[in-house]
């Protein structure tokens, strides 16, 4: 149990996917302009990342490793993730429109979110077992959400601040992200 808690803390704070591992930065800057979007995106990432983590673990453990095809993991993972996302999107749209309204529109954005692909590869590389994969996928996604929502909160306020023209928008966004990353940096010694 202790190991699991440690893993969760490490994934959310210490190795925060956005701020320490630099994965998933495009949507990080793109969808953080509004709090609403940021929350939706975070939820969608948690949802997809857990699904993708489980699927890719199964493929890796049941097909790729037994047949010695590990070098095909990039292409097979991306195909599986892309199809999975598209399938879930279509499924939600038809069957659970309420959930689709909240999450659905964020799903396609996730196909090219390197956080998803990145976490799947990290899981495999770290040789986690099934439970660990489940936990780390969730925790990494939660870390993504945490950072994104924090950042969106700050960014909404930045709009009110005096920012010199050349620094406006993405530029100040990156500097802010750097300062938040600095804050997350202090978690380094935690585990």
């Amino acid at each position: 149990m202790g190991d699991y808690i440690e893993l969760i803390i490490a994934c959310i704070f210490v190795n925060n996917i956005l701020l320490a591992q630099f994965l998933g930065n495009c949507p990080f800057l793109g969808t953080s302009k509004k709090m609403e979007t940021a929350v939706g995106m975070s939820m969608a990432v948690i949802f997809v990342l857990v699904l993708a983590g489980v699927f890719t673990w199964c493929i890796n453990d049941w097909i790729l490793v037994p047949y010695g095809l590990e070098y095909l993991k990039t292409i097979s993972f991306i195909l599986v993730i892309a199809s999975l996302v598209q399938f879930v999107e279509m499924f939600l749209k038809k069957s659970i429109p309420a959930l689709y309204a909240g999450l659905g529109i964020f799903l396609p954005l996730i196909t090219t979110n390197c956080a998803v692909m990145g976490v799947c590869l990290i899981n495999i590389k770290s040789e986690y077992n099934f439970t660990m994969t489940l936990i780390s996928s969730f925790a990494y996604a939660a870390g993504f959400g945490l950072a994104l929502i924090l950042f969106a909160g700050v960014r909404e306020r930045i709009l009110l601040a005096r920012v010199p023209k050349p620094l406006q928008d993405t530029s100040i966004g990156l500097v802010t992200a750097g300062i938040i990353a600095l804050a997350f940096y202090t978690f380094k010694g935690m585990v």
Partner: protein
């Protein structure tokens, strides 16, 4: 080797099959334009545009929230193609279109018979034309002949009708028309047009502070074109649901049917009917915005004036950001008007519709604390609109008015409303016997709220008589029905307290009416030795309110501290029509500019300010034409003393909940009229113009 090929074959085939089947099984209809536009975007789903992926961006483009150039990857060619799908040329100016303003046709009486050349110009050369109306259509069709694009036809009633699809906005008809009938304007120009002496205006249109084209939307309701009616109202008033509920409808006072000794048309009920029709229809009537101008405007205060100003600025293409100090948008219509008059759900739906046009809004942001005029200017806002409202209650200024149990009107309503909406826990302990001092709408809202909270004895204490009460008559009547006790001709003298500092009574002097004062109301004079005490445990003072301009002091030495204000703390405009302040980039409207006034006044002011801001941003002089109609100024020939030919018909009564039911809860008390009644009521409209009106047969 074989395994690799087999694996990839398997994965490819499985994914392809599953997706192919799923796309059939889970098929959902959506606007075909979305798919078309999505096809043109980069498909990288990178999120760089700020929308959640390409399909979300495509949807936003179709809804008009995002410009065709939304995609940062696809480049300018794709933007042009997206624009083509949407029928807008990206980043070109709004198209000009011709409009016909006179649908009077042959209604205006002929002054003489003319048998000369059949041409408008020839006819108008003789005494301005044969018809009575100075500006009305002569009906010879010079405009039709002038049009090279076959876009104007003479309609059924002998007046020109423009086919908007064919019109290219060349302006030929405009120059051909010797009268003021054909105008050539862009949507933006129409939206920002102010009533003018030369316009074809019915009396009600001249009276409405928001300048809504009333006869037009009523005739649209008559023709069952409810969406059209919504569109017409929205050209002047973005808060039609709220106005339809709370507007005291001054327009109805000038209705020609009322002048003819009949009951005036129930104009506001018809507006509410159209507005509710849109809300209940499940979809919003689309609102188009002009291409982006790249100018940024900060609207401070998300009340009716701010929302109206933001709405019109956004529609003419500016980038608008609203800053609101309270937890939610709406201002006085959210926090000052109780739930039973304007349900919050309705208000939210309305505000969402406005924000959906692409207006950014920040709440919990107070001018002077979180932002300053200076900081807004330096973060790139080109103009600033102050719609900060009037939120500071005036005090009674008598002994004991700060005892426990004493509140002021707006403060009480706001705290109660914030609490009711669950935004924070500001509870107000409610007594059992309450007196509300004042005779305005705030006072009435306070007493009606107290009744609903189960307070047994609720008094209204007012200096003058019922006739002088500034509150809406309907509201006063409703309060009477709900068992409020009115104490007229009573001036509070002092508030009595017990040993704990808790209110226990209110002493007032009886008054009598003396000579009329400047406002035409008879001045009340106290009667010596008439002190009377009523026993109460709660006192609310609602004797008026003014704007809170403390933000000025917080930026001492900055330009904003030079902002001119009046002695009532309202922001002084250079010109009440343009609403520009003495600092050129600051504009104000609503209660902040006028002192506590009507919602519809604030909406009209918001639009006037939007017009001035638009002029200011384009670098044009911020002025109003000499012939602009404003305030009490009216087209004299259109105001009749008598209106012959009107048969009396009963006005559709206002449906409301029975008293017993409504005082128990905050459920909306007034209801909407039925479609049948709306059609009937719209039939009562005389379809007036300047001179013409349809007589009852």
């Amino acid at each position: 080797m074989t395994e690799a090929i087999l694996l990839m074959l398997g994965i490819g085939a499985t994914c392809g099959l599953i997706l192919a089947v799923a796309s059939k099984v889970f098929y959902v209809y959506e606007d075909p334009r979305i798919a078309k536009i999505e096809g043109l975007l980069a498909g990288a789903n990178c999120g760089g545009c700020g929308f959640a992926g390409c399909s979300a961006a495509a949807q936003a483009v179709v809804e008009g929230i995002a410009p065709p150039s939304v995609c940062i990857v696809a480049g300018s060619e794709a933007a042009a193609q997206v624009g083509a799908v949407m029928g807008i040329e990206s980043s070109t100016a709004e198209p000009l279109r011709s409009y016909n303003n006179c649908d009077g046709g042959n209604r205006a009486a002929d002054r003489y018979f003319y048998s000369g050349i059949s041409g408008c110009r020839a006819a108008s050369a003789l005494y301005g034309g044969r018809r009575e109306c100075k500006i009305g259509c002569l009906g010879f069709g010079d405009c039709v002949k002038s049009c090279l694009f076959d876009a104007i036809k003479v309609g059924d009633n002998g007046y020109p009708v423009v086919d908007e699809d064919k019109c290219v906005g060349c302006g030929a008809c405009y120059s051909a028309c010797p009268k003021n009938i054909i105008e050539i304007k862009t949507v933006s120009q129409r939206l920002l047009h102010l009533n003018d002496e030369l316009d074809a205006l019915a009396p009600c249109r001249q009276r409405c502070p928001a300048q809504i084209d009333i006869p037009r939307y009523i005739s649209q309701i008559k023709k069952h074109d409810f969406e059209g009616a919504v569109r017409t109202i929205r050209e002047r008033n973005p808060l039609l649901l709220s106005c339809g509920r709370v507007c005291p409808h001054p327009c109805e006072d000038d209705c020609r049917r009322g002048v003819a000794d009949d009951e005036p048309v129930s104009i506001n009920q018809l507006k509410r009917f159209a507005a509710d029709y849109e809300m209940n229809s499940g979809s919003r009537v689309p609102v188009r915005c002009a291409p982006a101008t790249g100018k940024k405007v900060a609207v401070i205060g998300g009340g009716p004036a701010g929302l109206s100003c933001a709405f019109f600025l956004r529609r003419v293409g500016h980038d608008v950001t609203i800053f609101e100090a309270m937890p939610k948008l709406g201002g006085m219509i959210r926090y000052g008007i109780p739930e039973y008059r304007l349900p919050k759900k309705v208000l939210e739906w309305e505000i969402d519709g406005i924000l959906n046009l692409g207006i950014k809004a920040f709440t919990h942001v107070k001018l002077g604390t979180d932002i300053t005029v200076e900081s807004l200017k330096s973060s790139g806002f080109d103009a600033i609109f102050l719609g900060i409202g009037a939120w500071k209650d005036y005090g009674l200024g008598i002994e004991g008015d700060n005892l426990k149990g004493c509140y002021t009107g707006i403060d009480f309503l706001t705290k109660f409303s914030v609490n009711q909406q669950g935004d924070s826990k500001l509870t107000v302990p409610i007594g059992t016997k309450c007196a509300v001092v004042g005779g305005g709408n705030t006072a009435i809202d306070c007493v009606r709220t107290l009744v609903r909270l189960g307070v047994k004895d609720v008094y209204i204490v007012y200096r003058r008589t019922r006739k002088e009460m500034p509150a809406n008559m309907v509201e006063i009547e409703a309060a009477e029905h709900e068992g409020i006790k009115f104490i007229f001709l009573a001036a509070p003298n002092r508030v009595l307290g017990d040993d704990n500092g808790q209110v226990k009574g209110l002493e007032y002097l009886k008054m009598e009416l003396g000579e009329p004062d400047a406002s035409g109301r008879r001045r009340p004079v106290p009667v010596e030795g008439s002190e009377t005490v009523i026993e109460i445990d709660m006192l609310i003072t609602a004797i008026g309110q003014g704007p809170d301009i403390s933000f000025k002091d917080k930026e001492e030495g900055k330009r904003i501290s030079e902002l001119k204000t009046t002695r009532w703390d309202t922001i002084d405009s250079v010109d009440p029509i343009t609403l520009q302040s003495n600092i050129p980039y600051i504009f104000s409207a609503g209660d902040a500019a006028t002192g506590a006034s009507l919602v519809v006044e604030a909406i009209g002011g918001g639009r006037r300010a939007a017009r001035s801001i638009d002029l200011f941003l384009k670098g044009e002089p911020v002025v109003a034409a000499e012939s602009t109609l404003f305030g009490k100024k009216k087209i004299s020939e259109s105001i009749f003393k008598t209106v012959p030919g009107v048969k009396k018909t009963k006005r559709t009564p206002l449906p409301e909940l029975p008293v017993k039911e409504r005082i128990k809860s905050f459920v909306e008390a007034d209801l909407v009229i039925s479609e049948k009644d709306a059609i009937f009521e719209s039939g009562r409209c005389l379809s007036c113009c300047r001179l013409c009106y349809n007589q009852d047969q």
